[in-house]
């Protein structure tokens, strides 16, 4: 394995050069990647929100945000500022504590999940052995927050929205986990880095989509349902439930829900691109190009270029998926709750199980192709 650029080691060494002890240098390093990811994911949300506005406008033959910054790029920022200055209202008969804790419990696990998202071989906060499993576990905590805020609002629409969100995420978590399991079986690991490395080497042809087409579709549908995006946005179906669990929220607490849902959207798109679309791998492997020009892997500038291409590729795939998801939202009608649950339990679950079984069989039969 190519050690690549060791940012942590260089940073700590350079701090030690200033006479700071090793322990303190490490303590200074530790919050940095977390901070960068926190800021990065927030910026990613701004881009996703801008995309949502522009794409929805295009789908409805409008122009969308135009005057706030060039092409309306600053519109999401203006949204955020507006929400910051809004009054924070707690309804008179609401449960004050649960009402406050609800949005936090929704947002924290989503941000924590960025722990495992790699933008390059060494460009992630932590290569946890649990990897994707950790993400599944964390995303299963979110419905508790939704239920909490739905209950605490003291509003029947909120409670119904919370209950729907929970039922939906319980139903779709299982096919999601089964689809991930098929991937883990092929790459012999749950770690996101290993999963991407298993797809590397053959460029576009090596990606998991070709080996797991059914799994890809199941994962994509289940991820859509987990993010509560149309056609599965029943928890906040505005014609039936006003705004679902967020009905009574305003100001920053509402902003947290909003932020959480868009972070979840980008996170899901990131994970789809990592699990099925080769993560940071370019369609034509960089290693192939560099070896045709006889450039060694250890060349410093090549490593920088590879890292940059990795980040660009991950984000490109992610935003292509976000674009697709947004397009789905503005073109496809919402399903009914019984259709939603039927699809989850009676269709996706058996298909995911069959997919898992088929993957296991193919892995035994063609170990070279499906990962031995």
């Amino acid at each position: 394995m190519n050690p690549g650029i060791d940012l942590q080691g260089t940073f700590i060494e350079s701090l030690q050069g200033f006479g700071i002890p090793a322990g303190a240098a490490k303590a200074i390093w530790m919050p940095l990647p977390m901070l960068i990811v926190l800021v990065g994911s927030t910026v990613a949300v701004l881009i996703a929100v801008w995309m949502e506005r522009k794409v929805s406008a295009a789908a409805q033959q409008r122009i969308g945000p135009e005057y706030i910054g060039p092409l309306g790029i600053l519109a999401p920022l203006a949204d955020g500022l507006k929400l910051v200055f809004k009054e924070d209202i707690i309804p008179a008969k609401a449960d004050k504590w649960l009402f406050t804790f609800g949005p936090m419990i929704v947002v924290i696990p989503v941000f924590l999940s960025f722990l495992i998202v790699p933008f390059g071989e060494n460009l992630l906060i932590s290569d946890v052995g649990m990897g994707v499993f950790l993400w599944i576990a964390l995303s299963s905590v979110v419905p508790i927050g939704l239920l909490m805020s739905g209950y605490a609002s003291n509003n029947k629409y909120s409670l119904l929205g919370g209950l729907r969100a929970t039922a939906q995420s319980l139903a779709y978590e299982i096919p999601l986990a089964l689809a991930v399991m098929a991937i883990a079986m092929m790459s012999n690991s749950l770690s996101t880095v290993d999963i991407v490395q298993h797809q590397s080497g053959y460029g576009l042809l090596g990606w998991n989509v070709w080996r797991q087409p059914v799994g890809f579709i199941i994962f994509f549908i289940a991820a859509l349902a987990e993010c509560e995006r149309t056609p599965f946005d029943l928890p906040e179906a505005e014609e039936e439930l006003v705004a679902g669990y967020q009905t009574e929220y305003s100001g920053m607490k509402f902003a947290l829900f909003y932020l959480g849902s868009y972070v979840n959207l980008t996170l899901s798109a990131l994970l789809v691109s990592i699990l099925y679309l080769g993560g940071w791998e370019a369609p034509i492997p960089v290693g192939l190009i560099s070896s045709t020009f006889n450039i060694s892997d250890a060349t410093p500038w090549l490593q920088v270029v590879t890292g940059a291409i990795g980040i660009v590729m991950t984000l490109l795939k992610t935003y292509a998926l976000v674009f697709f998801i947004v397009l789905i939202r503005w073109t496809i009608p919402r399903v009914r709750i019984d259709q939603l649950l039927n699809l989850g339990w009676k269709f996706l679950l058996p298909v995911a199980l069959a997919n898992l079984l088929a993957t296991a069989g193919l892995k035994l039969t063609f170990p070279a192709f499906f990962g031995g």
Partner: protein
């Protein structure tokens, strides 16, 4: 003591306090919804303790199974219960509570002495860490195969039982006066038709 040890001790203290306080809240609070939410907090703190012990698979499974599934189902059940009943204070509640506290303290003392006095066979093998999932998997399919399969049969039985309980094919249109249909219905408030309010 280096940085890692300090962080470990501090987080152990915080997690242990969180487990104890939220568990006490589960038992002592009157509002059953608070108890259910605090139960989730207790489970999450337990998962944190597992993380400190290098058992990351157990920790993630704890979050997924106990918080993400069991606790959510408990909450779901609480919020779906459709039974309106006045809360009646039981006679002699004080005596009952004292008796319960005594029994619980006795149990705690018993378990405490057991934990302290047993010579635990502490393994000197280094913790599996990131590879723990592989170790656990190998154990499941070799020396713990029978219990593993038995647990899956148990889960299947629970699944079938839940479906039998939840499935109500018989919903009578008109209740018979002798009340013989009652046995087939769940104890639930009778459903009122939507239109019944208007046609007085």
């Amino acid at each position: 003591m280096n940085l890692a040890e300090g962080v470990q001790i501090v987080s152990f203290g915080i997690l242990a306090a969180a487990v104890l306080i939220s568990a006490l809240g589960v038992v002592l609070l009157k509002n059953v919804v608070y108890s259910a939410f605090l139960l989730g907090g207790s489970f999450i703190s337990m998962a944190g303790l597992y993380f400190l012990l290098n058992a990351d698979f157990v920790a993630a499974a704890q979050v997924l199974v106990y918080v993400g599934a069991i606790n959510v189902l408990i909450l779901f059940a609480i919020m779906l219960v459709n039974k309106q009943e006045e809360y009646v204070v039981v006679k002699g509640a004080g005596v009952r509570q004292v008796a319960t506290a005594l029994v619980c303290l006795g149990l705690f003392a018993l378990l405490g002495t057991m934990v302290v006095s047993t010579p635990w066979a502490i393994s000197s093998v280094a913790p599996a860490g990131d590879g723990s999932i592989v170790t656990i998997g190998i154990h499941f399919f070799t020396d713990f195969l029978l219990p593993f399969e038995l647990v899956s049969v148990l889960l299947l039985i629970a699944l079938v039982g839940a479906i039998v309980l939840a499935r109500r094919e018989f919903v009578p249109e008109n209740l018979s006066p002798s009340g013989e249909d009652e046995a087939l219905m769940l104890p639930e408030r009778p459903r009122e038709m939507v239109s019944s309010r208007d046609d007085k």
